[in-house]
């Protein structure tokens, strides 16, 4: 077998680097989000937030991580140890795995080599990503059950109901995106938006809003954070976790937020495309690399998460279910029909 240097670089080295980067990317975003959230909420609440470690508290996430690593890892004696230990890994792993199909930028040509900003490309990438991201509920239920605590159990049960309900509007709105772009491939979806010269958010605003609400519920963020409602369930499914295992859940939650923001950006806001991709006199915007655009866009949505958390009270369980079955599901169904009809006509 003759192995030349090019094959090693392009077929082995670069994919491996990409994989490593794509695993590190959510982790680094978690760190960034930790700082953004703490400072952002402090800003909303007229206080300062962490500003001691490093410039403007920029090293605070590292301090937090070190604290978490060195905290005692308490394992309840009555817990189911196998599942108790495996659950955080399941949650974090699924959150990170889902990133492999996300295009974090546009293709960049370096000489004759086309550098792509995604780990894998698949004609059904969208389906796989949605499937994997919904797997984190398994970890949550396992954690809730294995902790042998009633608060955790309630949190786990709530998460199942919440997830099963909110999968439906997510699926229905994603279908409209698939209808509009004619593909389940993320890259095709982005390219279609480039072709049409309009972001899907402006083409299908209802899908965009419904997807955002349902996605917010799926990553258990305020105002849908009934799974870990701190004023009733203490900390929900991760009440009994401490140390780095709690850290896993924590990272998974933030990674999930990054994932949802990425999906939002890819589906509705043109992924790594610059704003107004087809306006001629804004040609210079194309010289800003795609991943920068992507980053700016997801940061907006990540900040939106923080903003919403700092503003709204929490939904009660029944209200949450009523919202999805009475409003989101019919609305997304109707939206799907409308989009399908328009797509047939046009």
């Amino acid at each position: 077998m003759n192995i030349d240097i090019d094959t090693i670089i392009f077929d082995v080295l670069i994919p491996v680097i990409k994989i490593i980067v794509m695993i590190l990317f959510p982790m680094i975003m978690v760190m960034v989000m930790l700082w953004v959230e703490r400072r952002g909420i402090a800003f909303l609440q007229e206080r300062l937030g962490p500003n001691r470690v490093g410039f403007q508290g920029i090293l605070q996430p590292i301090a937090d991580t070190i604290k978490m690593l060195f905290k005692e890892d308490i394992i309840q004696r009555q817990s189911d140890k196998l599942i108790f230990n495996i659950a955080p890994v399941v949650v974090l792993a699924t959150s990170l795995l889902a990133f492999c199909f996300i295009p974090v930028g546009m293709t960049m040509s370096i000489g004759s080599y086309n550098l792509t900003f995604w780990v894998a490309e698949s004609p059904v990438g969208l389906l796989i990503t949605l499937g994997i991201s919904s797997l984190s509920v398994l970890g949550i239920v396992f954690a809730g059950w294995a902790s042998n605590s009633k608060y955790s159990l309630l949190g786990g049960l709530r998460s199942v109901v919440q997830l099963l309900s909110y999968e439906i509007p997510i699926g229905l709105t994603v279908l409209t995106v698939v209808l509009a772009s004619g593909s389940m491939n993320f890259i095709d979806i982005v390219n279609k938006q480039n072709e049409m010269g309009i972001w899907f958010a402006f083409m299908m605003p209802v899908s965009c809003v419904v997807f955002w609400i349902a996605a917010m519920a799926e990553c258990n963020r305020s105002p849908f954070d009934i799974v870990e409602a701190d004023s009733e369930l203490v900390a929900g499914f991760h009440t009994e976790y401490s140390g780095i295992k709690f850290g896993y859940f924590f990272m998974a939650e933030y990674a999930h937020m990054v994932l949802v923001s990425s999906l939002m950006v890819v589906f509705f806001f043109g992924g790594g495309l610059p704003i107004f991709p087809n306006v001629e006199f804004l040609w210079f915007l194309h010289y800003i690399p795609g991943f920068v655009w992507y980053f700016i866009k997801i940061m907006f949505f990540l900040y939106l998460f923080v903003w919403i958390r700092g503003t709204f009270p929490r939904y009660r369980f029944d209200g949450l279910i009523r919202l999805v079955w009475k409003w989101l599901v019919p609305l997304s169904l109707l939206n799907l029909i409308v989009v399908a009809i328009i797509r047939m006509i046009v």
Binding site: D80, G131, L135, L138, V160, L164
Partner: protein, 167 residues
Amino acid sequence: MIQSIIFYIFAALSVLLAVLVILQKNVMHSVLYLSFTILAISGVFFTLHAEFLGAVQILVYAGGIIVLYLFVIIIVNLKEIKAEKRNIFPKFFIVCISVLFLAEMIYIFFKNRISVPANADFPEFEALFEMLLSKYLIPFEIASILLLAVLIGSIIIARRKLLHDSD
């Protein structure tokens, strides 16, 4: 080459995990291993380039059915399975079935030799959709109506039990 190695890893894993599923006494552990088995099987599908099937495997089995299993187990509060005392006849039956199954597997194995993952690179799900929505449209719709009936029926049964409880 790398692909076939990965395929065999996934295949071996799925068999191993499936064995672990039935060896557990704790139901929850069984479900844990079952979910891993399903993931491994979807890995097998991915290496065989049946990406749509793999995705559906994750979405439906791991995301849906396993979660429902968990829900039922938590609500019914099954913790451990106690070994039943069986007569000689069922034991004999079980052994026979296993032997038959093994024989069949060996026969297939030797007939086809070692099957290498097909390297087909076509989006098989398009063909699938086409078939479902053209040639097999009526069975497809009938199946969906059947599922709906099952859904409604289960709700009615559950409701009736609830109503009886309140009386």
